[in-house]
């Protein structure tokens, strides 16, 4: 009798425990993914801010949005420029194709435009592992950031920054730099997350 009741209770407790573990692990996975996405969003913002601060102090912006070599790269790229256009992903060592990402960025931008409107031409401006900006903790920032630049016309530089991470995590931020009415020097006009 005692053995039987012990067995029944053990089975019940095991079921309850397993359901709690499952609940906990689902919440942990959600929370981890959420944290990865949030970190990527802040890193994309950091990359956009870095690019904006570099663009602001340049006396001539024509080189920023002009074609370099190859043509999908800015003629005057920023300081966070990797040595290759096929870098290793910081999270698993797989290859990242920056040319393909630029083509996808252009297609996405063109696709969002109303018919008949000529959109901006995007070029690589900053591209590198975000850990180069936070060398004290490279393993905590296993993401790769890319900032594209485009001529916003009328003296405005458009920036689009994306942070790429493991398991398809990505977050993007857009920013623009130009002269505010009445201002003497260029400044950031707007910065916004891209859904």
């Amino acid at each position: 009798m005692a053995i039987l009741s012990s067995l029944v209770a053990a089975v019940l407790l095991t079921c309850l425990g397993m359901s709690l573990v499952l609940l906990g692990s689902a919440a942990t996975a959600l929370s981890a993914h959420d944290a990865q996405g949030t970190a990527a969003a802040y890193e994309a913002q950091a990359a956009a801010m870095l690019a904006a601060s570099e663009v602001r102090v340049r006396p001539d912006w024509s080189g920023v949005w002009s074609a370099g070599v190859p043509a999908d790269v800015s003629a005057a790229p920023g300081r966070l420029a990797d040595a290759t256009f096929f870098p290793r992903a910081p999270w698993d060592g797989s290859s990242i194709d920056l040319h393909a990402l630029t083509t996808a960025r252009q297609a996405e931008s063109d696709g969002a435009l109303p018919p008949g409107v000529a959109g901006p031409v995007w070029r690589l401006f900053e591209y590198g592992p975000i850990s180069r900006l936070v060398p004290s903790d490279p393993s905590g920032h296993a993401r790769y950031v890319v900032v594209w630049v485009a001529d916003g016309r009328g003296g405005v530089v458009l920036l689009h920054a994306t942070a790429f991470g493991a398991a398809g995590v990505r977050a993007s931020v857009e920013a623009s730099v130009g002269l505010r009415p009445g201002a003497a020097a260029p400044s950031r006009l707007a910065i916004r997350s891209v859904p």
Partner: protein
């Protein structure tokens, strides 16, 4: 088997059964309350995500030429609304932006846009499409969020009047104006789209919602007034929500959460 052996075995069985039953009882209580606690945490996460995203981009303005910069150059893009909520304004970016070529009266439902570097001459409304929300903003004066009924050449036909006078040169930009407020009857956090007037629930089980504005990014100097002149200096916003469990019988305490935001478009260049 002697009587003593039977008594000892019964006592052991009772003790063991009692222990096991108390463990099962505790397990059942845990199993009942943990999903509720998890739900409370998930609602807090949703609140953080929705309100955080809204506040993060609050005040983003037009970035097309003529460039205008953040909205707090002319009015507070985060402001209290009647009934204890907040209204948040932001431009969404892209090519749907321009300036008015001709002044518009408060009752006008047609806006004529000037030529811009983005569109071909005479096609100032090229970036707009029907169904979008246009923010019509005159520096220091009118601000309105209206739905676009149609966009043809340089004309924006609005679904309703702007409700205030717009001078030539006023900014017209695609954007969003949302008001978040607490409905005490349903205990839901609601979101109203200011261009269409449509209201939708965002979060269940909210019993309190309060806002504090600060004139510094560190959150040391709270803003006492609620006029535009006071709130245009806001650099930090603190929203406090009290979330309550859906089953009061479980005696789980309320969860108070704070969304403390330093909106990046309100911090200067």
């Amino acid at each position: 088997m002697s009587l003593i052996e039977v008594l000892v075995s019964m006592a052991l069985t009772l003790a063991l059964s009692g222990t096991i039953l108390s463990l099962v009882g505790a397990g059942q209580t845990l199993a009942r309350t943990q999903p509720e606690r998890a739900d409370l945490q998930q609602r807090a996460r949703v609140a953080l995500q929705v309100l955080g995203a809204e506040l993060r981009d609050a005040g983003a303005g037009s970035d097309g030429a003529p460039a205008s910069g953040p909205l707090n150059g002319s009015f507070p893009p985060i402001a209290p609304s009647p009934g204890g909520g907040i209204t948040v304004w932001r431009a969404v970016g892209g090519v749907a932006q321009g300036t008015l070529a001709i002044a518009a009266a408060p009752s006008a439902t047609l806006l004529t846009l000037a030529d811009s570097p983005i569109c071909a001459p005479g096609q100032g409304a090229c970036g707009f499409s029907a169904g979008a929300t246009v923010l019509a903003l005159a520096p220091g004066g009118c601000r309105a969020a209206v739905r676009v009924a149609s966009a043809v050449a340089d004309m924006l036909q609005l679904a309703g009047p702007a409700g205030c006078a717009l001078d030539a040169g006023a900014i017209a930009v695609e954007g969003v104006a949302h008001t978040y407020f607490l409905d005490p009857a349903t205990r839901q956090l609601m979101r109203r789209d200011e261009s269409s007037g449509s209201v939708a629930p965002v979060l269940d089980g909210v019993t309190a919602f309060s806002i504090v504005f600060f004139s510094d990014a560190e959150g040391a100097a709270a803003i006492a007034g609620s006029s535009d002149a006071d709130l245009i200096h806001a650099r930090r916003v603190r929203l406090t929500l009290r979330l309550t469990p859906s089953n009061p019988l479980l005696r789980i305490p309320d969860l108070e959460m704070v969304v403390d935001a330093v909106p990046r478009n309100l911090q200067g260049g």
